[in-house]
Amino acid sequence: MIDLQSVAYNYGGRELFSGVSLSITPGSFHFLTGPSGAGKTTLLKLCYLELMATSGRVSVFGRDAAQMTRDDIARSRSRIGVVHQDCQFLDHLPVIENVALPLTVNGKDPESARGDLESLLAWVGLSHQADRRPPELSGGERQRAALARAVINAPDVILADEPTGNVDWDMSQRLLSLLVELNRMGTAIMVATHDLNLIRAAKAQVNTRTLRIADRRLISAGADL
């Protein structure tokens, strides 16, 4: 679904990483680790086409990213659920409408998915915050809302950047369970995280692959966990 072949990315004249090859296939579950500033977020952005590789080839759902129009990118993103590190929302809309946004921008009636929306909000523990505005939520609540928004449209791939960074252990386990459940249904998952306990907990439930960005290269890191 998402393939990176010998990808390099330069930022401010500096090479962030190069020679990165990665394939996200249906049902796969990847963790991405590495020190801060190594390029985890950048690698995710290349996958959801917010950034374009300096060299190499990125293909998303069989299409070469370099050849995609803005509409092609939008169509691809409607099949990718993104949990962004800083969890941005439309602050003037209530949480439930923010979570429903991937449906509405793709022409689906959120009222017809009202039941799914309410179930999902209950699952991430935000039932009572459904009508509140995002600025009224705590950091953890915002991350849960972001995860709910990422999964509402039943995407083929979920890319999550530190999705448990602001939540307690219990909630991180609940969020992981949601990701695992989606993965078992065939959704490919890629999570960038520093949280080794989260990775270990996931490994106990599903088959995962852990990658590390180090020294500007992407390496397999399964052995040291």
Partner: protein, 299 residues
């Protein structure tokens, strides 16, 4: 734009409209700019139409009449006037040839010399007024016959008065139309600036919408619809106010007076509804172009 998409545009998408937060300042700016520009457009249109109407009227009246002036020694004036009348009576296209009376000639000179001019003591030429018939007359042929048969006669078909008048009217009308184009362009510029401001103020909204898969056309539509409807509303108000102002301008004291004749007559009023529609059209394209350009810059 198909009928279905036009209908969809008018009815709007409640979800898309809600996604873009209200922008109070730019909303007021757009409404005010559209109202002010439409107000001015009504006057530019009135100027253009009035100029055309009055020039046509003057031109038509002058074109239907001509003058023969008999300048001869006092003893020959009567004879040459008779000779000129004979020529005119036998000239095709001359409907009426009438010798102006002393009182009529005095009335013509009164604006210049006052009412006490002793006209009968002055060696003034005799004037003959000619009205053309429906088929028109051959001015050059008549001029040649008069110069051959009435040596003191000078034929004036008013062409030298009419040409500068028509030229001036054409220029005024062109100026009026150019003003309309300028007003349209200024409206487009102001709405573009307001739309850019609104788009920049909503950069985060746009980023989030793009992140969850919104296409540019979906995001742009919310802005375009909002600005188009604001421009339509503002222009409707501006046009209505200007129409009232024109309707209550001082009446025509003299039918051919330019200042007192400024306004619309009959079917000319039907042009006015076109102004808000044109403003909405300009706003639609200005916002659409600004939106797509800004979307590319922002995301």
């Amino acid at each position: 734009m198909t009928i279905a998409s036009f209908r969809g545009f008018l009815l709007g998408d409640a979800q898309a409209d809600r996604a873009v937060p209200p922008t109070g300042f730019t909303a007021s700016l757009t409404v005010f700019a559209a109202a002010a520009m439409s107000f001015l457009a009504v006057f530019a249109l009135a100027l253009s139409l009035t100029t055309e109407r009055i020039a046509e009227r003057w031109s038509a009246e002058l074109a239907r009449t001509a003058t023969v002036r008999i300048a001869a020694p006092a003893g020959q004036i009567q004879a040459q006037t008779e000779a000129a009348l004979n020529v005119l009576r036998t000239t095709p296209g001359v409907a009426v040839a009438r010798v102006l009376s002393t009182e009529e000639q005095q009335a013509l000179l009164t604006p210049w010399f006052g009412p006490d001019l002793p006209i009968d003591t002055l060696p003034l030429p005799q004037l003959i007024e000619i009205e053309e018939g429906g088929e028109g007359l051959d001015a050059e042929g008549l001029r040649l016959r008069l110069s051959a048969e009435v040596p003191g006669a000078v034929f004036d078909d008013h062409a030298r008065w009419r040409a500068p008048l028509v030229q001036a009217a054409d220029r005024l009308r062109a100026l009026g139309l150019f003003s309309l184009v300028l007003i349209g362009a200024t409206t487009a510029v102001m709405i573009t600036l307001a739309a850019n401001a609104a788009l920049s103020a909503n950069a985060q909204v746009i980023w989030v919408m793009r992140l969850v898969g919104a296409r540019d056309v979906y995001i742009a539509r919310a802005f375009v619809r909002r600005f188009t409807l604001r421009a339509l509303f503002g222009a409707t108000v501006g046009t209505a106010l200007a129409a009232l102002a024109v309707a209550f301008l001082p009446g025509e004291a003299t039918r051919d007076g330019f200042l007192t004749g400024l306004g619309f007559e009959g079917l000319e009023w039907a042009w006015l509804p076109a102004i808000p529609l044109l403003a909405a059209f300009v706003a639609f394209w200005a916002t659409r172009m600004a939106a797509f350009r800004t979307l590319k810059e922002l995301t």
